[in-house]
């Protein structure tokens, strides 16, 4: 008699995996969030490049047209709060509002994540602490840039010292924004799934299990 075929645990798992559908991707950013992100990104790009052209002599000389560059800079700056505020409105903005809440709140694991030795033991939510810090920094810096830029633009309504102070704050915050945005782009390029979700909206479930386990559990209790 031929020996009965032995069924191992591994075989059973393989059979089960074959039966089951691959897990569906998860929606990370809806259309409103993606639109706000990319409109903001465009405005930031224009502001940073025109700002550099107004600030650095060699770029000024290369670009010229100081008047056009300044006008573009001022109007892009004044437009900066609009996409976020519009995106937050109404029923459409619900996911964005919820996500802003998530970005605001830090768990104890978020704080531990910054310590290299402990990072492996942390369980994060939808956003990692670096993303949270970036979001808070960009939001605060944008308000400061808007206010100080307005003082620089309409300087004759303010004391002379404020004009100097506003220029001072605008310059140093601009340097900070360059560091934050370049860093943000580099980190995004290192995580293709996360970057894809800002383009197409979804992440693979495996990504969420690994990088955002609390969020995964929230969606698949």
């Amino acid at each position: 008699m031929p020996p009965e075929p032995r069924v191992t645990i591994a075989d059973e798992r393989a059979a089960r995996d074959a039966r089951e559908q691959p897990e569906a991707p998860l929606l990370r950013f809806d259309r409103v969030e993606r639109t706000v992100h990319w409109v903001n990104a465009t405005l930031f790009g224009v502001l940073m490049l025109t700002g550099a052209a107004l600030y650095a002599g060699p770029i000024s000389a290369l670009v010229g047209n100081r008047e056009t560059v300044r006008t573009l800079h001022v109007y892009s700056g004044l437009a900066l709060p609009i996409p976020l505020l519009v995106g937050l409105l109404g029923a459409r903005g619900k996911r964005l509002r919820t996500d802003l809440g998530r970005l605001n709140r830090w768990s104890r694991d978020d704080a531990r994540w910054f310590r290299r030795g402990q990072r492996a033991h942390t369980r994060l939510g939808k956003f990692n602490p670096g993303q949270k810090l970036n979001a808070a920094f960009i939001a605060g810096a944008a308000i400061v840039m808007l206010a100080t830029g307005s003082i620089m633009k309409w300087f004759d309504h303010f004391p002379l010292d404020w004009r100097t102070g506003a220029t001072f704050a605008h310059d140093w915050f601009a340097l900070g924004i360059w560091v934050a945005v370049v860093g943000h782009i580099l980190f995004a390029l290192r995580d293709g799934d996360a970057l894809d979700s800002m383009l197409g909206g979804t992440v693979p479930a495996a990504w969420a299990r690994k990088k955002a386990p609390l969020w995964y559990e929230e969606l698949k209790p």
Binding site: S107, R108, D110, A147, L160, T167, F168, A169, L175, R209
Partner: protein, 269 residues
């Protein structure tokens, strides 16, 4: 799967905030509070408010900090060989205009007029100006708003030369400068104007003066704050008395000596 999640004891979770979020038992949209993250510390808001506070402090105190930076760090930056430090907002020019747009005139279209209480009013083209005996000055440039640019090299024609050529009449005691931006004016006494460190500059750090810096030609009054050095110089007028310029009408000192006016104590240039 990820065994460390099974093996590890569950990390501590802050639980104190999650209890009884709605004391009155109000039924709210459960979604935001259902997220485990809703119970954390609002670090994001603190960072945001901290930055806004920092920005406000920058506006109110930045002038003083800027003064200090220009004094203490500025000299170091001009010595930095890599050029990277020159990207920092210390020891660099700010471009101010009093009109909405940046004034611009081609060198071929430029002319400088000298008139008023003189025997021979005249007009110089750009090539005629450049052909006159040149003077070079290398000085720090100090703005009354606090920034200072170290060791700027200017080249131009002494104002005294232009005055001699025009022949100043006896009743003239002062000069009035007009910018071709159509708005800006400045003034000097005759005595100040005859100083050796007061020139009509057409060259800046070895290059022709750009629009930003007041080209094709501007006044450069080395011992005084920047506002005295009228940019985009169009016309020089000899007057009977000092007539206050654009900023002087708005409260700046007429005699704008660096370190001895406008309530400031900068090191003389």
């Amino acid at each position: 799967m990820h065994p460390q999640f099974v093996v590890d004891p569950p990390p501590e979770r802050p639980s104190n905030r999650a209890s009884a979020p709605y004391p009155g038992g109000v039924a709210e949209d459960p979604v935001p509070n259902a997220t485990p993250e809703a119970s954390g510390t609002p670090v994001g808001r603190r960072v945001f408010l901290g930055l806004v506070g920092l920005g406000a402090a920058g506006v109110l105190l930045g002038a003083r900090v800027q003064d200090w930076l220009e004094r203490e760090i500025g000299p170091l930056i001009s010595k930095d060989g890599t050029g990277l430090a020159s990207l920092l907002p210390i020891g660099r020019f700010r471009i101010y205009t009093v009109t909405g747009s940046l004034p611009s005139r081609r060198r071929a279209d430029y002319s400088l007029k000298v008139g008023g209480l003189v025997d021979q009013p005249f007009t110089l083209s750009y090539p005629e100006l450049v052909a006159m005996p040149a003077t070079k000055l290398t000085r720090d440039f100090q703005c009354v708003t606090g920034w200072r640019v170290p060791d700027v090299e200017w080249q131009g024609v002494r104002l005294a030369e232009l005055l001699d050529r025009a022949g100043v009449q006896a009743d003239a005691t002062a000069l009035r400068f007009h910018s071709f931006d159509g708005e800006y004016t400045e003034s000097l006494t005759l005595e100040q104007a005859r100083r050796k460190d007061v020139i009509v500059a057409y060259q800046f750090d070895g290059s022709p003066l750009s629009d930003e810096h007041g080209g094709p030609a501007r006044l450069y009054v080395a011992p005084m704050y920047g506002y005295k050095s009228c940019k985009w110089l169009d016309r020089i007028e000899l007057t009977k008395n000092v007539e206050e310029g654009y900023w002087e009408v708005r409260g700046y000192d007429v005699d704008g000596w660096v370190g001895r006016s406008n309530g400031r104590d900068d090191v003389a240039t």
